[in-house]
């Protein structure tokens, strides 16, 4: 792929704050017109990467190009071609939505008339026309984010950076933002999205780069990541709790994987290393052992599991959930992903 087809290129970016290494050889390439998800836990270096690419932060080593311009030496050119939507809704709370967009439009040097016209268009497009005159203070979280997106779209940038755009939003606000992002992508905007919500990457991204401790440790489409790092899983629920141990033994013999047990819900889940193992075989074997499966399904792993597999850790926010689950799972054996995650596992597309 020629570099002209790439909207974002980062090669070996390094950045440290004092003793703390934020980026340690960060590589990324995002083809034009696609959505790249940068997935990683808090402190992995996502925000630092975005700030460097958006010309907000200087860096210690490596190079980066955005929209064909070098972020270090051609920052002004880059700034005409990017939009940035950060973790806060970076808009003026006191002013109205329309006033905000006119102000940003003027600062983009559209001229007063063109800035007002652009503000009208964008408010309309992001469904904020009716509240355009009201102070931003009175907006809901989702409305603020949409105004923030609109402000990032004033010059119809070729690259839009979204740094955790839905953090702190309720599901409705999140859907509003997702819809707005999808609409932008349909018009050909390249989007670099950072998130620690795995379903967000799953929903929006064409390709995902998993970042941990300042480096990209895996890259691919969400499907590729799931296939290459996790493999399929079989989820099974039995009717009677006493059958669970027997079912586990049967499944273990057949698949060679160690099942995760959830006694409370009478469920087990096992990774299928060999995808030739069919559901039918499992059901037959269970039947032969005298276990009736109440529910059984073959499913792709979630990005959540992919992340756990790659880093040996659950992403932030998922930890609490996982601990709760561990308590309910009395004799459950956990997967041992830590040992498997040694070394970077590149998933080459």
């Amino acid at each position: 792929m020629g570099s002209s087809d790439l909207a974002v290129v980062a090669e070996g970016l390094r950045k440290r704050y004092g003793d703390k290494v934020a980026l340690d050889g960060f590589d990324l390439s995002v083809p034009r017109g696609t959505v790249c998800g940068l997935l990683g836990p808090n402190g992995a270096g996502k925000t630092t990467a975005v700030r460097i690419l958006a010309t907000l932060q200087c860096f210690d080593g490596g190079r980066a190009e955005v929209a064909g311009y070098d972020v270090a030496t051609e920052a002004a050119q880059v700034r005409y071609r990017i939009g940035l939507v950060g973790q806060n809704a970076a808009v003026d709370e006191v002013l109205g939505g329309h006033q905000n967009l006119v102000m940003f439009g003027k600062l983009y040097r559209l001229g007063a008339k063109a800035a007002r016209q652009r503000a009208d268009e964008l408010l309309d497009r992001f469904g904020l026309a009716e509240v355009g005159g009201k102070p931003v203070k009175s907006y809901s979280g989702g409305m603020r984010r949409r105004l923030d997106l609109a402000a990032g779209m004033i010059l119809a940038p070729s690259v839009l950076f979204l740094d955790e755009p839905t953090v702190g939003l309720d599901p409705r606000g999140r859907n509003e933002v997702w819809e707005a992002v999808r609409a932008l992508v349909r018009q050909g905007t390249t989007v670099l999205l950072t998130t620690q919500y795995l379903d967000e990457a799953d929903q929006l991204a064409d390709r995902v780069s998993v970042i941990d401790t300042g480096r990209v440790i895996a890259e691919g489409t969400p499907d590729q990541l799931k296939t290459k790092t996790g493999g399929d899983r079989i989820d099974l629920a039995v009717h009677d709790r006493e059958w669970l141990a027997l079912a586990a033994r049967t499944v273990e013999q057949l698949t060679g994987g160690t099942p995760e047990l959830d006694e409370e819900d009478r469920k087990l889940s096992v990774r299928v290393a060999n995808s030739d193992t069919s559901l039918i075989e499992v059901i037959r074997a269970l039947d032969a052992a005298g276990v009736t499966a109440e529910d059984i399904a073959l499913r792709r792993p979630t990005l959540d599991e992919v992340f756990l597999h790659l880093t040996g850790r659950r992403p932030v926010g998922e930890e609490a959930k996982a601990e709760k689950k561990d308590k309910g799972r009395k004799n459950g054996k956990k997967d041992a992903p830590v040992a498997e995650s040694a070394g970077a596992q590149e998933v080459n597309a």
């Binding site: 958006a54 907000l56 002004a76 102000m103 600062l107």
Partner: protein, 276 residues
């Protein structure tokens, strides 16, 4: 949802002087729009200053003796004028730190605008408010019996000195706004304002303070401005034998320039270090 939006064309590019000016005007306009949207903040700030005047004029004024039997209100007002300029510091600090915290400053920095305009726009808006504050305070002074007894030129000169002090203090406010975050910023700066304002000759003669404290009060930049403007307004003041009192008119210019020379580069460097 409307049809596809074309990419609008910016009229001018780069960070030339004309663009610094245009962007500064835009950002000053933003602050003016704040006044219209949210007049309560302004009114509260003005009301605070007016209450201070009334408190000193009517509550403490009776107990204050002015040398040579002059009027305490005549004596008080130049001190109050300069004092309000000190109380403006936290306004600047809050505005700057709020923008940094909310990511608004980062948005500006990711845009192809003139970076200098971010600080200049703030400074111009705060100067405009300082002029409004000073005029309101002078009207309040006139209402309670204060008079500018000097020539028109001397009166304008005094106003100039007061605003020069404010201009220097704006850069202190900007620097503090870039250094401090959140509630800490507000509380920290407001705590600083009171000793800075009261440890001066604005309300009480430094000669009545313990020697070392009186010296600090006399060397307070605020005191030089107050002494110089008392002379220009033709209002009574405390005498003093020290060099700094004798050269108050000179120091009323030198002090703000020194503050500027220290805090303007500090503020600019701190702003540039946002990208470190």
């Amino acid at each position: 949802m409307t049809a596809t939006l074309d990419r609008p064309a910016p009229a001018a590019t780069g960070g030339g002087l004309g663009n610094v000016l245009t962007d500064s005007v835009t950002l000053t306009g933003r602050s003016l729009a704040h006044w219209v949207r949210n007049p309560a903040t302004l009114i509260a700030s003005l009301a605070f200053n007016i209450v201070m005047v009334l408190m000193f004029a009517f509550l403490f004024g009776g107990a204050m003796a002015v040398p040579d039997g002059g009027s305490y209100r005549e004596f008080l007002m130049p001190g109050m004028f300069a004092m309000t300029m000190i109380f403006g510091i936290s306004m600047t600090t809050i505005a700057i730190s709020t923008d940094v915290e909310r990511g608004v400053t980062d948005r500006f920095r990711s845009m192809p605008m003139a970076p200098a305009a971010i600080l200049i726009g703030r400074a111009v808006a705060d100067m405009l408010f300082a002029v409004v504050t000073l005029v309101v305070m002078m009207l309040v002074g006139l209402a309670i019996g204060w008079r500018a007894n000097g020539s028109v030129g001397a009166t304008l000169g005094a106003m100039g000195l007061i605003l020069l002090l404010r201009f220097a203090l704006i850069w202190v406010g900007i620097f503090l706004g870039l250094v401090m975050r959140g509630q800490e910023a507000v509380a920290g700066v407001q705590t600083l304002e009171f000793p800075l304002g009261f440890l001066s000759n604005a309300f009480v003669a430094p000669s009545t303070m313990p020697g070392w404290l009186g010296a600090i009060a006399e060397w307070n930049p605020l005191s030089s401005t107050v002494t110089a403007t008392r002379v220009l307004f033709g209002n009574p003041g405390w005498g003093g034998d020290s060099w700094v009192v004798a050269n108050a008119s000179l120091m009323a210019v030198v002090w703000p320039l020194v503050i500027l020379a220290v805090f303007l580069p500090l503020a600019v460097r701190r702003y540039a270090s946002l990208s470190d």
